[in-house]
């Protein structure tokens, strides 16, 4: 026969909670990282490029309307539709091939391009991107739903790697990416 010990039980529970908390934290940070790492750069994004030991090759630049950035020595490099790690890899390859031996490159997005929200919200328009923003928060920024809004799901339009807009059904917790367009559709009932 086994007896449940209250203190031991509590300790076990608290350990379990700690474990769950840690797992949750790891999952959350992983999701956040995934959210940023799979972000495709696009026109309007302002990025900081640093080449370790080569200040003259470092600087800030904005992805142009043609989707490229200007890198000293290298020239125009296509950035749009690439993730930050992919762009970093492209620049490292180009520098390594002709100009710098084993370059150490870091890229950071300083300013993301805005996102857009339209449809049945009180203030549709263009809004500055905030890291970690979800559809729910975006709708709040747009001053909430109108009376005719279908609350969930909403449409999210995001460009794929070919630059083609793709429509997704998004929940309120879906992360918003820079350049996304959120469309809150009208309800029938």
């Amino acid at each position: 026969m086994t007896f449940w010990h209250p203190k031991r039980g509590c300790r076990r529970n608290s350990r379990l909670i700690e474990l769950l908390f840690l797992v949750g934290l790891l999952l959350f940070s992983g999701a956040a990282r995934a959210q940023l790492s799979d972000y495709l750069l696009g026109p309007g994004d302002k990025i900081s490029l640093k080449v370790f030991g080569h200040a003259d090759l470092s600087g800030q630049t904005t992805v142009g309307s043609d989707g490229t950035i200007a890198v000293p020595l290298v020239g125009q490099v296509k950035a749009a539709t690439f993730t930050v790690p992919e762009l970093k890899e492209r620049i490292v390859t180009r520098l390594n091939r002709d100009f710098v031996v084993d370059p150490k490159v870091s890229i950071e997005v300083l300013n993301y391009r805005p996102f857009f929200i339209l449809g049945e919200v009180n203030k549709a328009g263009k809004y500055d991107y905030i890291v970690g923003i979800t559809v729910r928060k975006a709708i709040a920024i747009a001053e909430g739903y109108t009376r005719r809004a279908k609350h969930d799901p909403v449409l999210l339009i995001r460009e794929d790697r070919q630059g083609v807009p793709v429509r997704y059904k998004a929940s309120l917790n879906t992360p918003v990416h820079p350049g996304d367009t959120i469309e809150v559709v009208r309800r029938l009932f």
């Binding site: 009376r147 005719r148 309800r187 029938l188 009932f189």
Partner: protein, 463 residues
């Protein structure tokens, strides 16, 4: 229908006529509830509301020139009838006579009625053309409000010309925002309207529709501070029943007085307990009618209830009490009975509203055998606006009327009403509507039963 006369001035904007039962011991105290204001039928449709004709700033008080800026300032929203007044000290200080709006409107109905005389057998149908002009002059002030409305309803029958009617009314409704806690609403109205066939007011069955002229005066004082709210309503009505051909109707001329007090206390946010005592006096000009029947009567009621108005989603009001009524006529038994009032309004979705009402009231009627009836009524209304300018409605109602009669002359009526309508707002100046209404009356009096179907096509113009 009790001594209700068509007062459609108050509804000129919606273009819908309605009957107000002016002499009964009841009142709607729920119009300002959040959920009621958010319901489909009360939604502001700014794109489709008429803007009116501004008469300009032609009035001023002494040296205080009217400030046009106050009107053009988009942050200052002029109060509209029924709107909650902005009672902040600043807005009261700024309230000035500014300007008036003129709102003309015209509705035309094409009506097909399959039982014009509301009879059980040998029914006849007719097509009726109805013209309903209205003209409203209303203030456009930050605080206080006044309007003057003039209008008419003119019905022309294709076959039964004797059923043609010409109704008209004039009314004014000043509202004085006394201070941030107190509002006084007044109403003065005069109308002339025909009694509808099949209504209790039509019991005398004249060759033409009978005409009642009614003078109505009402004062409604509302006070609200913290958790306490008080509302006192007094209504005076004077009815002049015109003779109909050879039929004398002078014995129906009467004065009516209604007092209602509603004292509320907010138990928790949005939940209010209230008490509502009321008095009703009906005094007929002739002490006895031609048959020696004394119609004078009076009564009181006392209702206690609870109102739950916690969100814009639902509104619930329940009240239960007693009513007492006594008569001057020997042989008419005084009675003490239960009285109730209930309403559930539920905005099931933002675009779909359900409104259920139930009530027991004392109605003053023009029946020759009874001065009043005790009515139990329940109604259900659905409204749905899938688009901003497209509104569907469905209503159903049941009323059981128990007439206060002398022994051996018992009279009871069950009335069922069902209606469907769809309204399409073309723009802020034009709208169209299609309606279907079904009515069925089962009466304990032989030969009074009837059923009828009414189809209406309506077009309205408003500026």
């Amino acid at each position: 229908m009790a001594l209700g006369l068509l007062i459609y001035g108050a509804l000129a904007e919606s273009g819908m006529a309605q009957t107000l039962d002016l002499i009964n011991i009841s009142a709607d105290f729920s119009s300002e509830a959040q959920a009621v204001q958010e319901s489909v039928n009360n939604q502001p449709r700014t794109e489709y509301q008429p803007i009116g004709i501004r008469l300009g700033q032609f009035l001023s008080f002494g040296d205080t020139a009217l400030s046009p800026q106050a009107v053009s300032d988009p942050t200052l929203t002029p109060l509209r009838p029924g709107a909650t007044p902005d009672k902040s000290a600043a807005s009261l200080r700024d309230s000035q006579v500014n300007s008036f709006l003129l709102r003309p409107g015209l509705e035309t109905d094409l009506v097909f009625d399959d039982n014009v005389f509301r009879v059980d057998e040998r029914t006849v149908s007719d097509t009726i053309f109805v013209l309903r002009p209205t003209l409203t002059l209303e203030s456009d002030w930050l605080n206080h409000f006044v309007d003057i409305k003039v209008g008419g309803e003119f019905g022309r029958h294709q076959d039964f010309k004797d059923e043609d009617y010409d109704d008209y009314f004039i009314s004014t409704r000043p509202r004085i925002d006394v201070d941030e806690h107190t509002v006084l609403e007044l109403e003065l109205g005069y109308s002339s309207a025909h009694t509808e066939r099949g209504s209790t007011d039509d019991e005398l069955e004249g060759p033409e529709p009978a005409i009642d002229r009614l003078l109505n005066v009402e004062a409604d004082w509302q006070y609200q501070a913290d958790k306490y709210s008080t509302r006192m309503l007094y209504r005076y009505s004077q009815i002049d029943a015109l003779d109909n051909g050879q039929i004398e109707r002078d014995f129906l001329d009467a004065h009516g007085h209604v007092w209602l007090l509603r004292q509320g206390y907010e138990l928790t946010t949005g939940t209010t307990a209230w008490l509502r005592p009321g008095l009703l006096f009906i005094d007929y000009r002739q002490s006895r009618d031609d048959n020696g029947f004394v119609r004078d009567n009076q009564g009181w009621s006392f209702v206690a209830g609870l109102t739950i108005d916690r969100s814009a989603v639902s509104f619930l009001e329940l009240g239960l009490g007693v009513l007492f009524h006594d008569f001057e006529q020997n042989g008419l038994d005084d009675f003490l009975d239960l009285v109730y009032v209930g309403r559930l309004l539920w905005n099931i979705t933002p675009l779909f509203t359900l409104d259920v009402k139930a009530e027991r009231t004392v109605e003053v009627v023009e029946s020759t055998s009874a001065p009043i009836s005790l009515d139990d009524s329940v109604s259900l209304e659905l409204a749905w606006d899938p688009r901003e300018n497209l509104i569907f409605g469905a209503t159903t109602g049941f009323t059981r009327s128990d007439y206060a009669t002398l022994p051996g002359q018992d009279k009871e009526e069950d009335r069922v009403e069902i209606g469907f309508n769809v309204q399409y707002l073309l723009n802020s100046n034009l709208y169209v509507e299609a309606r279907y209404d079904y009515e069925q009356l089962d009466s304990s009096q032989a030969g009074s039963d009837y059923q009828n179907n009414v189809f209406t096509l309506r077009a309205g113009v408003q500026l």
